[in-house]
């Protein structure tokens, strides 16, 4: 599984309240979450998410288990999320909705060209290659299927 796009740099300890605020949770309309992603951090961020790769520091996606956070990023067109470390529920949620998550420590400059290959286990930033931590077999299978729902359908 591969992807590439310009970097959007975020810091460490980005919580899911910041990704999508509690006041937007009560709907089934996924476009609402994409539209308001990161609104309290930087209202100008949401329109730039499409086609991008988010590069975060440590503890990406900490806090609430709200799956709307990963759905918001996927719906907004984020290609993948690279972080030095992830909060575990966010990580598992991302895989379950088919959003590639790559655990790797990489430098980030806004707009840098980021590429990843999950099968080969690397991330490149402006041509410089860094190792990525491998996913479990099951997580790879779920991601490859496009998320837990299609994975489930293919197995039943």
């Amino acid at each position: 599984m591969q992807g590439a796009g310009p970097a959007i740099c975020l810091g460490s300890d980005i919580d899911t309240d910041v990704i999508i605020a509690g006041r937007y949770l009560r709907t089934k309309d996924r476009s609402v979450w994409a539209e308001h992603a990161f609104e309290d951090l930087d209202p100008a961020l949401a329109p730039r998410l499409s086609g991008s790769i988010i590069v975060a520091g440590r503890n990406m996606g900490c806090g609430s288990s709200r799956e709307q956070a990963v759905v918001a990023l996927r719906e907004a067109g984020v290609v993948g999320v690279v972080a030095e470390s992830f909060a575990r529920i966010f990580f598992r949620n991302a895989v379950n909705v088919g959003l590639p998550v790559i655990e790797a420590a990489v430098p980030c400059t806004e707009g840098a060209r980021v590429a990843f290959d999950l099968d080969a286990g690397w991330v490149e930033v402006d041509g410089e290659r860094y190792p990525a931590r491998p996913l479990s077999e099951k997580m790879v299978a779920i991601l490859r299927a496009g998320g837990l729902v299609p994975y489930w359908r293919s197995w039943r």
């Binding site: 503890n59 575990r88 837990l148």
Partner: protein, 403 residues
């Protein structure tokens, strides 16, 4: 020799295992998404509805037409599917599950990050997302990576105005917001044995604020007595001489009233250092500190006085509310000028019932003070119930004299 997680999951740390779960619950927020995912999976019949619960707690009673409609759909599904249902007013999912449902040794999953609360019973209890929950509904099982364990060794007893919440803030500060990511915490030592079940639930509740998967206590005579009051038989669990990744030592005698300052849970100061901070609101409740012991502690301090700042008190469950009414605790709280809201999560997540305005400052007994969580531009300080009570009377952050 095994950690409690290894014993319950039946495999060594680092192993990936598929396990049947004993209890799985979701709330009005995550339940809606789980129902959607289940529909997309094409699953009609649930193999084990008796293991499942839907508990309405996040926005109760509904605040808008949209919320009400989403809740009505999910309520209808709970009834037609046979999933156990607790409607608005019953209480916070973790509290409802702690009132005679979860027992030692169980595997418990909840579609809410604070499911780790139930580790207080010696259960392996952890939070998950809505799609994972849908798969549990569909199969009765899920996969786990057996976590490594960090021991939090508690020695001695709390004294003076310090209470279990101060201890919780102390260990979160020691470990940091990602200090235990993907690990389990085990609270051990004579200081753990000396805590009440309500206090243990407060400690386990905040495990996720260190990134931990769960925060566990070994079931002991206090656990067995607590469950016996709900008519449940349970046995104590004996710790083995196991290998912890590391051990954090905390002397309970050193604990003083603490406050987590905006906007990080692990940025903790002695209450003394921030005393005098002006407050616009005090909030007492949540899955951290909305239990009977908390309300009784709050009432003891405000009894016969008047709060100087708007104060919202939210009992964690109907059981807690009923007991607070029966013992007169609620009357003391109302007489002191506090508002009492229906059992549930209340304003903790900024959705309703006590949202903060731009620049407003709240002292809360909850577990998260993330930027804007209770309202855009609001600032959240986290404290114990005693600190919240003394501060409500004074209208500014105040160090309590007694717990």
């Amino acid at each position: 020799m095994s950690t409690l997680s290894e014993r319950i999951l039946g495999a060594p740390a680092g192993a990936y295992v598929d396990r049947e779960v004993d209890i799985a619950f979701a709330h009005d927020g995550t339940g809606v998404l789980a129902r959607e995912a289940l529909r997309e999976m094409g699953v009609e019949r649930l193999p084990h509805p008796e293991r499942l619960r839907l508990i309405f707690d996040h926005i109760v009673p509904a605040n808008t037409g949209t919320t009400a409609t989403l809740q009505a759909e999910l309520r209808g599904y709970a009834r037609s599917s046979g999933i156990g249902f607790s409607d608005a007013g019953g209480g916070i999912c973790h509290q409802v599950m702690s009132e005679g449902v979860v027992r030692p040794g169980m595997i418990v999953v909840g579609a809410d990050s604070h499911t780790c609360t139930l580790g207080a019973f010696g259960a392996f209890a952890t939070g998950m997302g809505a799609t994972d929950m849908a798969a549990v509904w569909a199969s009765g099982a899920t996969w786990f990576r057996v976590p490594e364990t960090i021991a939090v060794n508690l020695a001695g007893r709390l004294s003076g105005p310090a209470e279990p919440k101060d201890l919780a803030l102390a260990y979160v500060a020691r470990l940091g917001m990602e200090g235990a990511t993907y690990r389990a915490l085990e609270f051990v030592g004579d200081g753990a044995a000396g805590l009440s079940m309500d206090g243990r639930l407060t400690l386990s509740n905040m495990a996720v604020e260190t990134g931990a998967k769960t925060g566990m206590f070994y079931a002991d005579p206090a656990t067995v007595r607590y469950l016996a009051d709900y008519g449940l038989a349970a046995a104590s669990q004996t710790p083995e001489d196991c290998r912890y990744e590391r051990t954090v030592e905390i002397d309970l005698g050193d604990i003083v009233p603490l406050v987590a300052v905006p906007h990080r849970v692990d940025t903790v100061r002695e209450a003394e250092e921030v005393a005098g901070t002006h407050l616009d609101q005090v909030f007492v409740g949540t899955c951290t500190n909305g239990r009977y012991e908390d309300l009784a502690r709050f009432a003891r301090i405000v009894r016969g006085k008047k709060v100087a700042v708007r104060t919202v008190v939210v009992p964690a469950s109907r059981t807690v509310l009923a007991r607070a009414i029966a013992t007169g605790v609620l009357a003391d709280i109302v007489d002191a000028g506090c508002m009492v809201a229906p059992p549930g999560c209340g304003p903790c997540l900024g959705a309703h019932a006590g949202v903060l305005g731009e620049g407003e400052v709240c002292l809360s007994t909850a577990n998260r003070n993330f930027r804007n969580r209770m309202g855009v531009g609001g600032e959240i300080y986290l404290s114990s119930v005693a600190t919240a009570a003394a501060s409500a009377i004074a209208g500014e952050i105040t160090v309590p004299e007694v717990a």
